[in-house]
């Protein structure tokens, strides 16, 4: 097999299939110039990787921005009550539709059955109240867990800030001590 039909660079860069790799392996065993090419690529790679990655001079961080945060109505819509309200409305609609569908055909006035709309409304109201109450309970529960999470987050940040302050104080103490020592050293020859 000729050297031109073997892609030593792709082989070196790990961009060949298993079958291709086997072909290149066979060729490398027989071809000295391709082996040398591979050695030089390895040497180049080793040199390139001697460059260490540097840390960014400053950390990149973003603070909360109202532009990107969900709007208040989005928050409400995503909360439990919205879903509760939607399901209650759907249920109420279904009850109403069911009520109307069960109405018998129009009869002579004397025989016309009386539809108890008041009873239906009561049922609807009862169902809606139950759903709303469940939704409100769910929201209370979510609110409590969110508050808990916020408190924990606040406490963690506070502890981190305290640690930073302590570290800074220690640093300044050390620096002061060093300055004192240095000052003493400067004064000593004069005495």
């Amino acid at each position: 097999m000729s050297c031109s039909s073997v892609d030593v660079k792709a082989y070196f860069l790990g961009e060949v299939s298993r079958a291709e790799k086997s072909v290149v392996d066979d060729h490398l065993r027989a071809c000295e110039s391709c082996r040398e090419e591979l050695d030089r690529l390895k040497l180049t790679d080793t040199a390139l990787r001697s460059l260490v990655e540097e840390d960014a001079p400053q950390r990149i961080a973003f603070v909360s921005d109202k532009v990107f945060e969900p709007r208040w109505y989005q928050t409400i819509w995503r909360s439990g009550p919205a879903m509760g309200f939607a399901s209650s409305a759907l249920l109420a609609g279904a009850i109403l539709a069911h009520g109307f569908s069960l109405r018998p055909p129009a009869q002579p006035a004397a025989a016309a059955p009386v539809v108890d709309t008041a009873q239906i409304e009561q049922r609807i109201e009862r169902e809606v109240n139950v759903r709303l109450e469940a939704a409100a309970a769910k929201q209370r529960e979510q609110m409590a867990s969110m508050l808990d999470a916020v408190q924990k987050s606040y406490e963690t940040k506070r502890q981190a800030d305290l640690a930073d302050v302590r570290q800074a104080v220690d640093y300044y103490k050390n620096q002061t001590a060093r300055l004192m020592v240095a000052a003493n050293r400067v004064e000593t020859p004069a005495q």
Binding site: A56, F62, F68
Partner: protein, 182 residues
């Protein structure tokens, strides 16, 4: 690797819902890689820092447009590539880009220093396209097809740039005489 990918995906999902803290965690994972890529592209530390901030801001603003969170790395480097070239194009008419790295100021922490300087010099002699191909492949470990997506060009172009760059780097960093045959 899979575990890390899942975690990034979770952070992306949270960030999309407006959780800035989740996004900051994501930034902290990627900022060093992005900064070093930009540093070696624009060869100026301040510019690289400014561009890094722009990259992450744009990524945040466009996070909802990212269709597949598993491709976050390529998508992020695509933004970084655009930012780097935008600056390089802006600087080009004013003459050559004065590279802070070329002064050797940053190499004080590198070991061995001769090799680092030689590498910086050799990378600096490549064209921007060739240098970027080396950065994305050797330092960032992207596959050819991922690089093609980042650079918006065919895989054949990616290979051509990279192979030419490797040949040029080889001449400086691994001359023939080092083989020991001569």
């Amino acid at each position: 690797m899979i575990f890390r990918e899942v975690e990034d995906r979770d952070l992306i999902a949270k960030a999309r819902r407006g959780h800035v803290d989740a996004y900051n965690v994501l930034v902290s994972r990627w900022e060093k890689r992005v900064f070093n890529y930009l540093l070696r592209m624009v060869r100026n530390r301040e510019d690289a820092m400014d561009l890094s901030q722009d990259v992450f801001l744009k990524a945040y603003q466009n996070l909802k447009k990212l269709e597949d969170p598993a491709k976050f790395a390529g998508w992020l480097f695509r933004i970084a590539h655009n930012e780097a070239y935008s600056l390089l194009r802006k600087n080009r008419p004013d003459g050559e880009i004065v590279g802070e790295l070329a002064t050797g100021e940053s190499s004080a922490r590198m070991f061995p220093i001769e090799t680092s300087l030689a590498v910086q010099s050799a990378l600096g002699r490549l064209s921007e396209d060739q240098r970027e191909a080396v950065l994305l492949k050797v330092y960032q470990g992207f596959k050819f097809d991922e690089m093609a997506e980042i650079l918006s060009c065919p895989v054949s172009t990616v290979k051509s740039r990279l192979y030419t760059a490797l040949d040029l780097l080889k001449q400086t960093l691994a001359p023939v005489s080092l083989g020991g045959a001569e």
